[in-house]
């Protein structure tokens, strides 16, 4: 067994152990404190644990299937996220072809470019080509009502749901000397840190949270939860240095950046939900919100993480 796959197996077993422990704790808490499903925090915790199982199993299957599996998985995530996002926009009939192009041309092409490892065009395809061509498609219908709102919303939807999300599988295209064949572990590092940071902020907030950090955006988020969650996720990130090409200090620093971006990304996406008067982005899992509710922090941290690693570690 080579080093890459033995690290992967250690990680898989570790995650399995954590999930089993989390599920047992969730079950015991539910039996003790919320047998009739009345305690919202415990129901929420169990819903999150279930979502992690799904996430871990899907990512696990994708890793087994290799690069193409990861691309297909994130391609579908982009599709479902874009569908949730566009549902909440003000787009009109005049945008029909622009939207069709977003779903059936831009999205598949973005992932195809990753598959073909065309980094140059991959990194500018949506910010340049889609940005300029989509409003052209819309303007040809001649409907000027709320035109700027409509084209801006479609571009934002593409940037968040397709461009940013595609930077998670883009980690596989990095060419880091001495880290060949292990890029998949970078995805694991990113996703684990973001998810842990989310839940640790939640746990710290529940235990010690007093001062609200953004009462208008997200009443459940507190300064104590934020500080505790970021600090502990950063430490865990440093402790996971062995699956990355980084030193423990660098791994901690990157985990710190990931958690910060994730936190503020969550705030931005909450602000959009409030603007549109909805509580959740969708109902992908009955009663537990949409896909974007689970992915918002990953989506914000992925491009920054990708570019930091590419700038300082990648050979190409």
């Amino acid at each position: 067994m080579n080093a890459a796959s033995s690290d992967l197996w250690t990680l898989v077993l570790g995650i399995l152990a954590i999930l089993v422990v989390a599920s047992v704790i969730g079950y015991v808490l539910q039996q003790r404190l919320s047998p009739d499903g009345s305690n919202a925090s415990i129901e929420n915790l169990n819903a999150r644990i279930k979502a992690w199982w799904v996430m871990a199993i899907l990512i696990g299957i994708a890793f087994l299937a290799g690069r193409i599996g990861v691309l297909v998985l994130f391609g579908f995530c982009s599709f479902a996220a874009l569908r949730e996002f566009i549902t909440l926009t003000h787009t009109k009939r005049a945008d029909h072809w622009a939207l069709a192009a977003a779903f059936f041309v831009v999205l598949p092409l973005q992932y195809f470019l990753l598959w073909a490892e065309q980094y140059g065009i991959f990194s500018i395809f949506i910010p340049v080509y889609a940005f300029l061509l989509m409003p052209i498609i819309s303007v040809l219908r001649g409907d000027t009502e709320r035109f700027l709102d409509r084209i801006a919303e479609v571009q934002w939807a593409l940037m968040i749901c397709v461009f940013c999300a595609s930077h998670v599988p883009a980690l596989l295209t990095l060419n880091i000397p001495g880290y060949e064949g292990r890029d998949v572990l970078l995805i694991a590092f990113l996703v684990i840190i973001v998810q842990l940071s989310d839940v640790l902020q939640y746990v710290w907030g529940k235990l010690f949270g007093r001062t609200k950090i953004a009462p208008k955006l997200s009443p459940s988020k507190t300064v104590e939860g934020f500080a505790g969650g970021v600090a502990s996720a950063t430490l865990i990130g440093a402790g996971l240095w062995w699956i990355t090409p980084f030193t423990p200090f660098q791994a901690g620093l990157l985990a710190f950046v990931i958690t910060l971006m994730g936190f503020f990304g969550g705030l931005v996406m909450s602000a959009i939900k409030r603007d549109r008067g909805v509580k959740d982005w969708g109902n992908l899992i009955e009663g537990h919100g949409g896909l974007i509710d689970r992915l918002d922090s990953v989506v914000f941290s992925a491009p920054i993480f990708f570019h930091i690693v590419r700038y300082w570690w990648s050979a190409t």
Partner: protein, 217 residues
């Protein structure tokens, strides 16, 4: 041929429902006590050819098996493909909408289907709504059918967002999340005036429409 049509009708129905689900991620919202388990009439807003497919897709399989959409014969008998989809796949109750060309009474056709134990999906606006108004005035068909079978319960069903998925004249559907909201059943009262009943039914339906941002405001 008819045997072949019957054999492929089921997989085609499944494929159409799966496709509709993949595009719209459709989700049903049920009233507190659920929908009636016996024969009833689902009446819904109509803005797209896909409307009854969404209602059909979210019904529990047990109810779906006995539920038939009511559709215009003129449209669905036009070509062999639409005839196959309308008759064999969805087992639609086809009614003739144009009064002067009629050979059968639509109310009688629908009542016969109800008597045979089928539930119906009905669009009381009579045609697809292409206007900015949320709901067109109801045609009198719902009243006449309810008067003919006063014991049958009528369930209002609001289909949200499907008009944005595939507006009239477009051929490529846009993936958007749709919901289908079922309301509390209502019944016609004995001696209830036609307009009073139609207004009551229309209000019950329009009350189910979400007042969320986005979409066609």
């Amino acid at each position: 041929m008819s045997l072949l049509r019957k054999i492929i009708a089921r997989p085609v129905a499944t494929a159409i429902v799966l496709f509709a689900r993949a595009i719209t991620a459709v989700r049903a919202i049920w009233p507190g006590e659920g929908v009636p388990s016996d024969t009833c009439i689902y009446f819904a807003n109509h803005s797209s050819h896909g409307d009854f497919i969404l209602v059909w897709a979210v019904l529990p399989p047990r109810l779906r098996a006995t539920t038939r959409p009511v559709a215009g014969a003129e449209y669905w008998l036009k070509s062999s493909v639409t005839r196959f989809i309308g008759r064999d796949v969805f087992d639609a109750v086809l009614i003739e909408r144009e009064r002067d060309k009629r050979t059968s009474d639509p109310i009688e056709v629908m009542a016969t289907a109800l008597d045979a134990g089928s539930s119906l999906i009905l669009f009381p606006e009579g045609t697809r709504n292409q206007t900015d108004a949320p709901l067109l005035p109801f045609k009198s068909g719902l009243f006449h059918l309810a008067s003919a079978r006063p014991n049958i319960r009528l369930v209002p069903v609001w289909i949200n967002n499907l008009n944005r998925v595939m507006p009239k004249g477009e051929i490529v559907p846009i993936p958007l999340i749709c919901t289908v909201t079922f309301g509390e059943p209502l019944q016609i009262q004995s001696g209830e005036d036609k307009q009073v009943f139609l207004d009551r039914a229309r209000t019950a339906l329009i009350n189910l429409s979400p007042k969320q941002a986005g979409g066609n405001e």
